[in-house]
Amino acid sequence: MLYEGAVIIKIEDVTFYYESVKVLDGITIEVQRGEFLGLIGPNGSGKTTLLRCISGVLKPRVGVIYVDGQRIDKLKLIEVAQICASVPTELSSEFNLTVSDFVFLGRYPYVKGIWWESKEDEQIVEEVLKSFQLHHLADRKLSEISSGEKQRALLAKAVVQKPKVMLVDEPSAHLDLKYKLEVMEYLKELSRRKITIIAASHDVNLLSKYCDRIIILNSGKIVSFGRPEEVITEELIRKVYGVEATIMRNGNETFVVPKRPLR
């Protein structure tokens, strides 16, 4: 499969079923290298399922996904993990890993020795811990740190995975306003360093503030795809969310001000 180097992800006519329920329906997308792509849509619209398909965890029944020029269904999980890193909404702290134990797990796809990480792995982890202001928390348990710090640890683990693509599910779910913006700034910065970001969220305003392009999903179909100021319209919010809203514009930025649910 050959195509111009600027395209990092190519999704061709992907359809996915959970048992007999169609969750994704004929999805076709091309994502550019270094693009910050937002995924919005109501509950059950297929956002998380799409991310799962791109991360190789789910195999679509119909259609093909190419990542970095390779068919994802022909790759081993460990090869996918060297290209795509996933950032989940939440992290489990049941077994009380320390922050550095957790971030080190991001090196799993690369460590060659049987047991210990190499000097190089360690250097990468230390740099990333510093850049996420986590190095002073390295020995703390995950259960002892704040939600904002947890979110940074999740991002740090994904970054040490040295991915070309980061798949982020609800990056701001449990965060207050400041941390929400902070996380989005981190992601924006990563996309400037040519890491492609695909972020799914319910926060339309947050995504339209930061993303280069936005995909709106509804019932497993792409309803609209383009620059935030082009796709976010009063009509679209009404159609997709069933909500009457006003769109406000401030220079380049677009805001949705919801008014009332439609009957």
Partner: protein, 347 residues
């Protein structure tokens, strides 16, 4: 941070190994002094050294007792201590559930059932060779583990589902075991004491089929320490980190069933060891399996050694089943975990 994280870990690992081996050595010699024939610590030690120097040839009664009766027992205790504790640690990681061990998941009962069935068949149908006993135990253990996993996952896969499913499967297998014990009559009476877990009848022959497999399987598990760390993230995140979760879990289920069955086949059901030991080790050394697993091995060997010493001395000359001692320690511990942390895990 200063010092490299990996270096710090290696240092801690060396430290825990040195301490663990030292205490184990002392307990080991102490256990050689125990029994109807009184012996001092240094007497036991010299007897052991002499008999080992002479390659197993004994020149006096002390050496005879140490070499043929007490040494195999002590080695077996170490093997079972390691095996059940590692099995517990692996189960807790792959089920991501701190409340499970070979006993609670019913795997031990499955193994015991396999053994009873084989012995029953042995006395009623055909004489079966000694070495088929662990095989029967393994089949029973694997069947029990798969049943528990199936039941727990079919009922929602929540933390307590595994505990409940394990208890149900355990009870079922225990009932079958009881039936076979009754049907077997007097010939299976010896099995009753064995069922509670005891090292009283351990011989050299048993040592090799308990200690060697238990240690080698545990070492194989050590090689997968990083994978066990990754699986703590949960199935989906582990897959996204590059781990083939399905085949890894399958392998670990087989290894833990094997470990449990070699331990149960000759020394009976020793409950709660696999639950308590990984917790102690985690409190001491954290959750990174590269340090945790060696610690689990050492703590497991030490704890079971202490339990066996208690079982032999507390009501001297009567010997208690060691399984009763580990349960006496384990039950309140389990209750504590259930009260303190069960709530967090229910949903």
């Amino acid at each position: 941070m200063g010092e490299s994280i990996v270096r710090q870990k290696i240092l801690r690992l060396v430290m825990v190994t040195v301490i663990g081996l030292s205490t184990l050595f002392i307990l080991f010699i102490l256990s050689l002094t125990l029994g109807p024939v009184e012996m001092g610590f240094s007497e036991a030690l010299t007897s052991l050294i002499n008999v080992l120097k002479n390659g197993g040839r004994t020149s006096n009664i002390n050496e005879l007792i140490v070499y043929h009766i007490r040494l195999p027992r002590a080695i077996c205790v170490i093997g079972v201590g390691i095996g059940l504790s590692i099995a517990g640690a692996v189960m807790q990681a792959i089920i991501r559930n701190p409340l499970v061990d070979p006993y609670i998941t019913g795997v031990s009962s499955g193994a015991a059932f396999g053994v009873c069935l084989a012995m029953f068949a042995g006395i009623t149908i055909v004489k079966i060779p000694f070495y088929t006993i662990p095989l029967a135990a393994f089949l029973g253990a694997l069947l029990a583990f798969l049943l528990t996993m199936f039941l727990a996952e079919a009922s929602g896969g929540m933390t307590l589902s595994y505990v409940l499913a394990g208890v149900v499967v355990g009870i079922a297998f225990s009932s079958f075991t009881t039936i076979f014990l009754v049907l077997g009559g007097e010939k299976l009476h010896g099995a009753l004491f064995w069922l509670f877990g005891s090292f009283a009848y351990v011989s050299w022959k048993v040592v090799w089929i308990v200690f060697v497999p238990s240690l080698s399987l545990s070492i194989i598990v050590l090689l997968y320490a990083r994978e066990l760390n990754v699986i703590l993230l949960g199935d989906e995140q582990a897959m996204q980190s590059g781990l083939d979760v399905q085949s890894f879990k399958r392998l670990m289920i087989i290894i833990t069933s094997l470990l449990t069955s070699v331990c149960v086949a000759f020394t009976g059901i020793i409950g709660f060891l696999g639950l308590v030991v990984p917790h102690i080790a985690r409190i001491l050394m954290g959750s990174d399996h590269r340090i945790l697993l060696p610690t689990v091995m050492l703590v497991g060997a030490n704890v079971l050694m202490i339990a066996d010493i208690i079982a032999r001395t507390v009501l001297k000359p009567v010997e208690l089943p060691v399984g009763a001692i580990t349960s006496l320690i384990g039950v309140p511990f389990f209750a504590y975990l259930l009260i303190k942390r069960g709530r967090e895990y229910v949903v």
